[in-house]
Symmetry: C2
Subunit: 362 residues, 2 copies
């Protein structure tokens, strides 16, 4: 097959320049005679790789010195347990905003270890909006306030960073919009993100945690689920997933070359704008159900007015080199994930195809 544009929600497209570099040095990293996959995680070569990855990430997000950066495994799903186990301390309850599939899973797992106060939910309208902050029923004694900045399945994104009450750290699952726009890390107690959308290959979870939140783990917390253990060991308590860290490091360097997070945010806005415009100007052939102000710039969900055309749409798209456009099985319809690494040419090709397809089937 010729070049394709890959709209997978994750694992997802990676920058071509990053993959080309990985390919060129796969057998021999920087004259070491070894593949990165073959290097001891405690050797000086890999220590350099992980150090540079952390420094580049710190530079991209202006991460202050009182935050630790951890390179972990297990994805957001493991974080759902690690958060209450590590941050509950002597509090009794945690606050969670419910905006869709992933927040629901975060709530379900947190309930195994803590009371959960759902501060707000948009389930009443099928998660097509973010509840207005002034309606949230917050608990001033909550151990933390958790939200999911971008719901990958629903295509819903927070256009704002919530405020947090004094003494209630803000915790964010940023898996699917990490590094896609500027954030002020100091507003957060903890940020986490599975790598397989905007960071690199799967098998890596990045956690950014304010140091004063370490050391509060429940006594039964498995050692490998204790943030403090990983922080004390600079993510080398045991062997980390070294190759995903290496690729993430190449992505961070690529992002810096592209002008950093602000430059990506501008491109992401442009890409999402093109797609939503194509949907909204299709005279109802395509529709996006999400309320306009909360539409994700990462995962664009849309439906065809005539659902019986969906299979034809997907197979015709594939013939045009546009792949992985099927919506999540929980929701149906279509989804185009357009993370940082999706070039604008890919979005333009998709828009062109959608317009042609609508013309042919209207």
């Amino acid at each position: 097959m010729a070049k394709v544009y890959n709209f997978s929600a994750g694992p997802a497209v990676l920058p071509h320049a990053v993959l080309a570099e990985a390919q060129s040095e796969l057998l021999d990293w920087h004259g070491s005679g070894m593949s990165v996959m073959e290097m001891s995680h405690r050797g000086k070569e890999f220590m350099q790789i992980v150090h540079e990855a952390e420094q580049d990430l710190r530079s991209l997000l202006h991460i202050p010195n009182n935050y630790k950066v951890l390179f972990l495994q297990g994805g957001a799903s493991l974080q759902f347990a690690m958060l209450p186990l590590n941050l509950l301390g002597d509090k009794k309850s945690v606050d969670i905003v419910d905006t869709g599939h992933w927040s629901k899973l975060a709530i379900k797992e947190a309930r195994r270890y803590s009371a959960v106060n759902v501060v707000a939910s948009s389930e009443d309208r099928h998660y097509l909006y973010v509840p207005a902050e002034d309606t949230w029923q917050r608990d001033p004694n909550a151990a933390y306030l958790h939200y999911t900045s971008n719901e990958t399945i629903g295509g819903l994104q927070f256009p704002f960073t919530p405020s947090s009450l004094p003494g209630v750290p803000l915790v964010c699952d940023m898996s699917s919009d990490f590094l896609s726009r500027e954030i002020d890390v100091t507003q957060f107690g903890l940020i986490y993100a599975g790598a397989q959308k905007n960071i690199g290959p799967s098998g890596l979870t990045v956690v950014i945690v304010r140091e004063d939140l370490l050391g509060l783990a429940q006594p039964d917390t498995p050692t490998m689920l204790n943030y403090q253990v990983h922080a004390d060991a600079d993510s080398m308590y045991n062997t980390p997933g070294t190759y995903p860290i290496y690729i993430a490091g190449l992505v961070f360097k690529w992002l810096k070359e592209q002008g950093g997070v602000n430059a990506m945010a501008a491109r992401n806005a442009e890409k999402a704008g093109l797609l939503y415009h194509a949907i909204d100007s299709s005279n109802g052939f395509y529709t996006c159900p999400v309320d306009p102000e909360f539409r994700s710039k990462m995962n664009i969900v849309f439906r065809l007015k005539d659902e019986s055309l969906e299979e034809t749409f997907l197979s015709e798209a594939k013939k045009n080199g546009l792949v992985q456009l099927k919506g999540h099985r929980a929701l149906g319809g279509m989804r185009a994930s357009i993370y940082n690494a999706m070039p604008i040419e890919g979005v333009k090709a998709l828009v062109h195809f959608m317009q042609e397809f609508a013309r042919q089937h209207s």
Copy 2:
């Protein structure tokens, strides 16, 4: 640097043919137009990769149908918590054999969730032997009996598979000798292995578990630490580390081409034999402290009679393309890890270097 022989204990050398194949298809797997790193874990391409990896592993080890194969994350260190959490059931205690660094960590973590009966320990003689099985103080009511078939740091390997009492499943940390010799899977309740020695890159843990041991997890077990959850979802409960699974699959195919596990065992015996012979015939210039019958065929530890020569040995070895020979910081001395992927030429080059070095410095 020219070609090197990499004796790292893990992450470790991978077969050159595997890395070359990974390199050739890094940008485009089998005409899909995508890198494996970019594929949805639920797409048909990756499902094929993971299915073939499992089938090839089943074929290599003759894994019966009543055993599940799980591809997990977190390494052996996470298994140390998962084992008692999943297998204790309504029992009160677990049996563990203490043969060195890794069994000690397994004991320490298990004690967080269960009473631990150390059935035998070779700590009295610095873990230089495996205690004779007829001296083990077994508990017939133990939830399981755990041992570490190869102690990577100490260079100690079980030359036998322990027997287990009726109703007490045998559990083995096979991280550093998995696939290096034939085993009878039916003797085990559960086998686990971190990938970064004999399987592939780090970030993957293989678990082989008998189905009747599933479903016994303690109520507080984090969802991601529950074997049943991963078994029910065929290791796709959440996004696994896809690239390490792909590389492991290539390694399994390579092993089949090499003649399978028995062929590797013969080569491994030959390689280890060459090295131990070089040590034992050095008139004391090199010594291996481990009792001969328990010496590992994977990790050959040795010391120089004159410790002040160690740095010179390492730097001269590196000049000769022989790298990562430094022993674990907990033990000092030297360690040559010669997993399946280390070619016999690498061992011969090391033996030649050791003999020359001894001649020059005797």
